[in-house]
Symmetry: D3
Subunit: 306 residues, 6 copies
């Protein structure tokens, strides 16, 4: 997973190790139970974006997942910045990187209990932000496809706990790709309302308004939050509401939001064109606002990687 | 996680490595997605029990989880026996061991797709079967407690895919332990019917019949299957049916089934005694039948560890 | 919709008219409300199969749909036989025909009420049983694919009312065809259990047993009933139970049942092979038993049309 | 269905035919599958009301129902106006007419597929707007009664696809009429929230606010939209929210909205008086505002027909 | 509530008091919380029927409702027989009586807790078994009508806890009586399956089999159990299964079971005749078997009261 | 339940009786059916608070519960004030009292019907407002704990009917107390959303906003309404929205509202601290505003009782 000759460095529970040596015990709770919370943030022009907010959310996830972490948020922020600094040499000028946190409940003991008995395993790594796979969607739009399986209900595991027990989402994604190998999945909740993408949120533009599911059935994404703020700055009405397949079929515009690509327009839904089948004006306007906010052209960066 | 001076050996994707060195990349799909299927079997008197059936079920899980494994079932069986042989020196005469298989979709590539791009990561290990934590439940019974969170519904991720995306179950277990730190959780499905324990199935004895949920909302446990067979051999009626909290409150006997302990009697449910508050006769009869089937005293083995 | 030069004759509310002239008012309740019940039966060797049972079920549908029909079952049977006789000249020796009944609540009056104010519209027609589209599935198996939309719940409209308000099923079928243009859809109910195909029922063979959903969430198909009877005659265990996607992924065999093709093997489910990917032995055995029961080779008849 | 000696003319897939000759094949997808989308608009003083909006919604329904129509919206509008013109001679001065569009997927071919193989069947007709059945409800209010059956859930078929697969609604209406032959049904969704009337929407007035279900479980009615606009113009607060039977029992006022009658007050709900049992002031105010908007007295028009 | 000049005697928490003086504090948990469990049994020819079983079930209800009763089952049985003896003088030769137990958690203390702080309030009374209201249903059948409200789900309060928190059932009964003042309500569960009557169970006869909901959504009635036993003695197949409105509409026979009337035939369901609209043969056969079992003519007893 | 030597007086269906003699027949519908609606209001400085609003809500409950009360609201208000006056001598200067209304459908007749045949039983009493049990929660906060059982769904019995069929809530409360004997229960609805406390509503403070479930799944509490008004006066944003366990775990502040204690802060949820584990600033600010509104220190009053 490296780019270039020099090795990326990963922070692993107190040590900075080369990426290829970043290994954890097969008895770690992340492996044995998927008991691991996570954050994925990114840089723009090598500067971390909303990193404090990501770390705040991480601590909320830790609490609800009942994982005890031996660092304060401030310490974790500093460690993260150290990881970023250690990997700066690998970042090309026009590129940026992911910053990923994975925190598990540490190594497990097999037996009747399930409480955390060891310190949390802390994995923090950066990664070249490879955007090639998404780049053409900025101009062509992607194909959004409903999966057959449904999202984990909040009474089972709240989607706002950003976690690594993602098998359900992985299978849902594979189902959507049966329709189109490049499809981006739209996962419905068990009542049939739109929930989320495998790793992002979803917006529709209809009647000139921006609409997105409220967070009672999906991740409270920070990219989602950024879009809401940008839209409100642009004077757009933003409504959190139940969306259903009908809303996607009849929307003027649809886009996903997620950390790596920020916003990904969809121009097809379940085989039918969305709006006029082209990337929509409000989507472009919001992407431009985001680019302006971070002082660089988000789309151009991705397209340079093609 | 070792016992004694010699190190256990773990099979890790083609190599036999000492347990302490059994590490996987933090970019493995098991860590990043909980995308890992599993089996836990055990030995009785150092002989594997139902190992072929566990491997068959593993391949069913692999298929539905869309993980491609580079071995045939026969090859995997042979590798497993090799692992067992490699660890025989660590097994004391009266003890037995777990045999655990974890198969993930291998190392991931961050980006838009989620298909498996690398060979599966194969983790096979044995482990001293530490029964101390459960031993007293054979005579005293455990305290079964309903969790507040509910099981993953089958339309989200079928419980019969024995998988490692277990955060929901881990949190449910912690919830039950709020009532009693030694509680064993009883997880209800989203309709309020009894589903399963964090890692096992559940039976009640009422009106002289053995009753257990059908597998449309829980794992199709092989210990569960063993109990059903033993009960039928004993002439007991076994019914797969919906069970609800009322059935547990009013049962004559309740027990859990799982690989390590086989059967674990519960004598209390949500703070109230089950039946007369003692381990029941049919439970004991079935445990004895199981001991007879495997040629050793299951309860005595556990109690020797106290 | 005719074959050959002579025109088929349709019974239309008291008259026998050529197929091309079989037209109904656009104010008919079948057009304006989908308020129309139906039966589809067929002949084997030009003899109607289970026609009385189809007519009995039709009267059950009429009752629950609150449509009053001005004929007794015996009269309707006689009319049906007359239609069949009128169309015998069009039936080639090796061919057979559909016999379809559609009964609507007659012509409507626009306004506040919705009670039937006119005599029922009675449409009875036969049709060449064109099996070409299904013929290759007898040997190759079809591709069963889960739709994204879910079946009409019984508390809304019971699937056992065989009715013509089929838009939900038509859309579900189109969704499945996004995966494969020749897919046969598998519609789940709102709880995620397998319900039915657009126009048929579904069976799996697992552990040597035949399993099919009970009729609380699907049509009580007469082909389904025939398969159950044939299987029991063959000494097979038949269980009506909840089935879920997992059951189809892990089945040894899967097949659909419906009037025109009797049984249609599926060898692929959501892109993965079912069993060994070939039409299964029990499926073939049951098809053979059916052929024997009706005194003709069902598969050969279809294959002659290729 | 005619008034007077001259015959109304119906547009039927390219031809203008007398109403009595407006017939379609019994093999049409509207008859065989209820696969037909629809719009019902009306005139006020012989001028069509919101016709463009109805046609827009029709195209949204066509898209989601995957019916291909061979006309552009502009063409369809022109055809509609032609139908209206052709029938103007039948309209008395004080009367108005329905304008109904039914578009099906055309004639079907029996067999494995369900794709549209023939051009859409286009049925456009006007009809004398017979208001006699509703006229007394403007002054006395109607009796709103909950049906036993529940609305089609959106995950099955979105209510916003205005469609002709209406058997569930027809049966629900008959159930409500068991309580009172003149009852207007109130259909609940599968969670027990108020959804819609057989062919209209529903509002309550409570605490001086106008409240109506949001469109995630009911038709997005244009009469509903008109009431919302009129209310906002009058300075009333309008809230889209979940309503339950309690809200109707305890409302100050309740009314239905639908194209033919615009607004129909209800003064009784499940046998109990609504408010003081009389048509409420806000209902009357909104009706008056609507009358003003269309330049004629809506209530007087209906009452002239008694 | 007395018959004749002498007063019935009621057992009230240790005392035998005349019925008119049988009063409890308005601070009793039965009044303030409906926190009261109950049994209703009856005599046949002045002998109690299944009294031990009723008392057993009462103790199951007490346990799950967490009400502590200061008597053993044997003591309670003796007290009950004393009540019966005390009231024998009031029983006419051909008549019988109810035996009702109500046990509440005693007098409450207002404040933060809800635990039982006082001894249980024990109310045991007999009552003339007034059958006049049901008598004609034995020959004419009653009208079964679905309520609009749904049964309490088991995840809220298990119907098998026979309890006095019956407001939901009382309202459901009133709803059914909107259709017919003599209607007997059929309450559906929240999934739309038949649950129970306000105070009894429900059976259908179809295809020669007796079918009734399993007790996961309804009271485990002892009359229900008696019918099952009688039917099995008669060689009838009895199936516990999900029933839906369709099953009642299309049944050959339908009847309710409850302590006072044993079995009550229904000949109409939601306005439509059941079977041929007459009391069915199997219903009569089972009623006769019950009469034989208890050595008296159940129907004749009721009809003498008309 | 008295304080001091003098007896409190209770209004019981027309008479003023000493509390100890306030008894009702065991045949009352409140005892036999829990068919009883209720209001609990209180005084501040001996003056009733929102009494008219409580009486208005009582009449709404009576209507939906189909209980006929022989008094007008104005009469009931006057009777209530008379009860209050009769009990003023028992009120110490610094204390206050509950005012409780219980209205049942009167004495029942056993038999097939369930209509009200006797006048309503009217129970109106005051009670010393014993706050000792809650007093320390104002400073320490209470422990909020999720019950295992779920709230009664509105399609069964709307929570806005303030009623005495409270067994489900009583059991849920006992379940929460398994975790902590002083726990205050948080009951989820059947979809897993926060509904209500056994006898109160629930608010969270997050992101500086006040959030509470909308009343479609919980009681429309008047204390809840008071908090909303006070918050809006303080310039706080108040949102009615779905809340889930995650919202409570991650809230900055949580509090309950109910008549006796007005607001009760929670500082622990399911064993984890809420916010910083101390009573929050907004909670204190709102409590202070309430104290100011009623002209007395609510917290001090409670603490004087310790």
């Amino acid at each position: 997973m490296t780019e270039g000759s020099q090795s990326r460095m990963v922070y692993l529970s107190g040590e900075m190790v080369p990426e290829a040596e970043a290994r954890i015990s097969i008895f770690d709770s992340s492996v044995l139970l998927g008991h691991c919370v996570t954050e994925s943030s990114r840089t723009f022009q090598h500067r971390p974006f909303l990193l404090e907010q990501h770390i705040d959310r991480l601590y909320r996830s830790l609490k609800v997942a009942r994982i005890h972490l031996q660092h304060t948020p401030a310490e974790l922020l500093q460690i993260t910045l150290n990881v970023l600094d250690a990997n700066r040499p690998m970042m090309a000028t026009g590129d940026d990187c992911w910053i990923v946190h994975n925190i598990s409940a540490g190594s497990l003991k097999l037996g009747p209990g399930s409480n955390q008995v060891n310190p949390a395993t802390v994995m923090i790594f950066t990664n070249h932000l490879a955007l090639r796979g998404w780049a053409r969607f900025y101009t062509d739009g992607c194909h959004a496809v409903t999966s057959m399986s449904r999202a984990v209900p909040s009474q089972t595991l709240d989607a706002r706990i950003k976690n690594r027990s993602r098998m359900a989402y992985t299978i849902a994604d594979a189902e959507a790709r049966l329709v189109d190998p490049d499809a981006q999945c739209v996962i419905l909740d068990i009542d049939g309302n739109v929930s989320e993408n495998k790793g992002g949120n979803l917006f529709v533009v209809s009647d000139g308004e921006l609409r997105t599911p409220s967070t009672d059935n999906c991740l409270a994404g920070l990219s989602r939050q950024t879009v809401i703020e940008l839209a409100q700055e642009q004077g757009l009405v933003v409504r959190e509401m139940k969306l259903q397949m009908y809303d996607l079929y009849t929307a003027d515009e649809v886009f996903f939001t997620s950390t790596p690509y920020c916003m990904m327009p969809a121009t097809k839904f379940n085989g039918l064109p969305i709006g006029d089948g082209c990337v929509g004006g409000i989507t472009q306007q919001l992407l431009a606002a985001w680019s302006e906010r971070v002082g660089m052209d988000i789309v151009a960066q991705a397209q340079r990687q093609i």
